[in-house]
Symmetry: C2
């Protein structure tokens, strides 16, 4: 069967990670990436051997003048593909959607866009099948993805009554921090509930969830604190079992030295993950506390990486090439080495020796 031909439009913090992830999927081909930048941000893509397309004629000319060989512009790229992943900034995204619709090309939006722009909001474990063969879907934002994964897992086990969360959002991305800086302040989102709760209801309409969100001054990732009312008195072990039904919720312990999110990032780096990506919701297992029918826990969300596996699954769903969530998730997880679990409770552990990893990669590439 031919590989799914995919384009990435917008090569920023998300776009570059999506491109790298597509490149290691056995059933996909990264046909090309499209952007407007003419500096290192796009030269690195060229060095990786990706095909570059300018956003329009003018951009292509600028790129060629800057020594970046282009294969054409967005129009040309869209003529060669099955699915486009739009990772461009919000305003440009809206303009792009019109182009995709006109050309009748399947498109995947990121969480910054509105639900209505795609007509469907996607989290693989929750609603993969409802996206099969659709024209478009939207991979919900990083925070919303983590909410759907965790609360979805509790709900599937009949444990969830209602959930109230406080979301600590990183100030800016490392790649942008020279421009925006790390502010020395704390900036609440201007409404309660913040938008993430309602957004999660776009995927699971029955969720009783309220979120409060606040920007804090660091660049590593988001952290959530949750207080969940359960349907009954429950043990911590039952909660862990519920969370373990998701292969994209990971566990680690403060007692293992994961005292701060910097150590979690460093661990991903040690594991030689691409860009030190943390694809899982990383739950502090020993911090988790159950009091009667109340559950308290905290986790880290890598805002740059958590939506990457979801995006890969969304590609398979829209094209209808893989019929079940289970099958697609297994392929994606294997290719990205997803399955963070230091509790040793899972059969498949993402720990791999360097040798094992090399074998795994060579199998993927063959």
């Amino acid at each position: 069967m031919n590989k799914i031909r995919v384009a990435v439009n917008g090569y920023g913090v998300i776009g570059r990670r999506v491109a790298d992830a597509i490149a290691v999927q056995p059933d996909m081909e990264l046909t090309g990436i499209c952007d407007v930048a003419t500096d290192w941000r796009i030269k690195s893509a060229l060095m990786k051997g990706y095909n570059i397309y300018g956003y329009d004629e003018e951009t292509s000319n600028n790129m060629n003048e800057a020594g970046i060989r282009t294969e054409g512009n967005l129009h040309d790229l869209l003529g060669k593909i099955d699915v486009v992943i739009d990772c461009s900034p919000k305003k440009i995204g809206a303009k792009n959607i019109e182009i995709y619709k006109e050309k009748k090309i399947r498109y995947i939006l990121q969480g910054g866009e509105k639900h209505e722009s795609a007509g469907h909001s996607f989290v693989a474990e929750e609603n993969y099948e409802s996206a099969l063969n659709k024209l478009s879907t939207r991979v919900v934002s990083c925070n919303t993805t983590s909410i759907v994964r965790t609360l979805g897992a509790l709900q599937r086990k009949g444990l969830l009554k209602k959930a109230r969360g406080t979301l600590l959002r990183r100030a800016t991305d490392p790649m942008e921090s020279h421009r925006k800086g790390i502010m020395n302040t704390v900036v609440p989102e201007k409404d309660i509930p913040s938008h993430q709760g309602p957004d999660a209801q776009k995927v699971i309409p029955s969720l009783d969830v309220v979120t409060m969100a606040v920007q804090i001054p660091e660049t590593i990732g988001h952290v959530h604190f949750w207080n969940v009312e359960l349907t009954k008195e429950t043990t911590k072990e039952e909660i862990l079992d519920a969370f373990r039904t998701s292969s994209r919720i990971g566990f680690l312990k403060m007692g293992d030295g994961f005292n701060g999110i910097n150590t979690i990032r460093e661990f991903m780096s040690d594991m030689e993950r691409s860009r030190a990506n943390l694809y899982e919701v990383a739950v502090w297992e020993d911090l988790m506390t159950v009091q009667g029918n109340e559950l308290f826990y905290a986790y880290m969300v890598d805002n740059q990486a958590i939506v990457i596996p979801e995006t890969i699954d969304a590609i398979r769903a829209l094209t209808g090439r893989v019929k079940t969530a289970k099958e697609s998730i297994a392929m994606t997880n294997r290719s990205l080495e997803i399955g963070l679990d230091l509790s040793g409770e899972r059969e498949e552990n993402f720990y791999m020796t360097r040798q094992g990893k090399a074998q795994n990669l060579s199998q993927l590439r063959s």
Copy 2:
């Protein structure tokens, strides 16, 4: 009537603020401060005209050699006073308590010490009268003070069923940041519940409160996010009325440009408060949200300043010189210009013209 003679042992972040506050009380005299430092941290006290005492003979000699004239050591200072405020680091505090007990001197501890070390934990609006004529009390920590003020206010109005809070703690104090730095990470406290909830129960034993706490990378102050279950469906106006029963809960609005805690600090600076201190719990009024019988809100806590007025009131309580919380709080509030309220709903507003402020100060000093 003679003024209450007070000593401050430990001239750090809290001690220096306590000293400044004592100095403007009409019924108190700052007899002296005691410390071990020989650098700017103590020279600034000398420039203010405070009497300096070395912690022991050796410290006094070091100070005198560094050009800091001392009036003696802690032993000498304790012979001249009615109450000592211990603001020294934890380990030294424990040692000091033995000295105070042996000399039968009334002492006030700060929130870093254990409840048992004083036998009483203090928040003026909640339990001033129970501290009258006691040998010792402990002013609870900054976060706990804010919890008791706010949840205490809701409880007094019969509105509080249970409260669940997420506490964002500043990484370090500005004065220490050259040593500890502002970390670029997020560090959860290693247990849920964190200690602040149980600590609040030392003041209000019946509180149903659970806290989760996390260090974040900024130096301006703490921020709390609360989800409160009320005893009934309530309006936001009723909640505000309940909070307004505390003169030490202040209100401001995101809509007035208070988007981040840096702007709140700047405002205190503009108001020419001593050291830009924020003594109130600063609640974002327009962020506050009521959904049925649930209340959501967020506020800032100035960890360096919020306990200062409580400490001043504790001095009056231990000496038995002022019999009611109301009377002491009014004196303290007036001297420190407490009563932050941008809603214009209160009779007494802390806004003062420069002229009004000067008059006020001259009255205080006369």
